[in-house]
Symmetry: C2
Subunit: 167 residues, 2 copies
């Protein structure tokens, strides 16, 4: 069983979700959203993301962090903001000793919904069913849980291929 924190960074909301599994079973552990006060200075906002992700890692002890790869953004300004939040998230993981893994949106959708072009709502719905979570999940937290599930399934099948005689 491996435990992974998936994170979906954003300049306003950063979702995170912790999932445990081995490729056959998935177990939901926790999810949440870091909400940033918009009127505060950048340095303070980055520190909030960094500290809160570090606190979740300390509390739930995942061994891996999974984050979606990003190549696109609405514009240069939002790419800069997103990059800063993303930097804070990744540093929270590295400085806690986690191994960091990035997955494309296509790969995440494939591994969760079985279809690379699945709509955002389909992915969220599948995450909820796979992990038996009741009630609404905030969209960033749903995306964070999806990338955690993607990492567990990818990592588990990699491990399976390495076992001698395994298939």
């Amino acid at each position: 069983m491996i435990r992974t924190i998936g994170v979906d960074p954003g300049s306003r909301y950063t979702g995170y979700g912790i999932v445990e599994g081995d490729g056959f079973r998935l177990k939901y552990i926790h999810h949440g959203t870091v909400k940033l006060p918009p009127a505060r200075p950048l340095s303070e906002r980055l520190q909030i993301i960094f500290e809160q992700i570090k606190a979740s890692i300390l509390e739930y002890s995942p061994q891996f962090m999974a984050v979606e790869e990003v190549f696109f953004a609405k514009n240069v300004k939002s790419a800069l903001s997103l990059g800063q939040a993303r930097g804070a998230v990744i540093l929270a993981g590295v400085s806690s000793g986690l191994s960091i893994h990035e997955y494309s949106a296509l790969r995440i959708k494939q591994s969760v919904a079985g279809y690379g072009r699945a709509a955002k709502e389909q992915v969220a719905g599948m995450v909820q069913r796979l992990l038996s979570i009741e009630g609404e999940i905030e969209p960033n937290a749903a995306d964070a849980l999806a990338v955690a599930v993607c990492h567990i399934s990818t990592h588990s099948s990699n491990l399976r291929w390495k076992i001698p005689g395994g298939s």
Copy 2:
């Protein structure tokens, strides 16, 4: 006298420069460039920036960090990379207890070269003269020293206005 670390973050080269002063005098302390190995994973590159900036802060004990404000980038991809590096730099400052200040390119050029539209080379030349540095300075480190000088002159004149009876 206040001591400031100026930083010019980038996805390949991050320049930093430490300057001390009180608005009348400027004293050059140190400068350097963090060079990132391009082939390494993102998480490792961000960690190198974070650790090396923290190490310089620990060694030279500035009270302030100054960084150029950024609104533009070549494209979304470079804005994402720059944002990530910038996030790592700012977190290195915040987590070392420094107060972080951002200045526009216009403001930096005005305070160093006396002219908001000064060319990059003019700014570098003025930094070199103001701080009596001999030999070539790597461009990112020159920009980092410029933002440090800008912070010292801004902060000192703010302080001067606050002294009762001062002018």
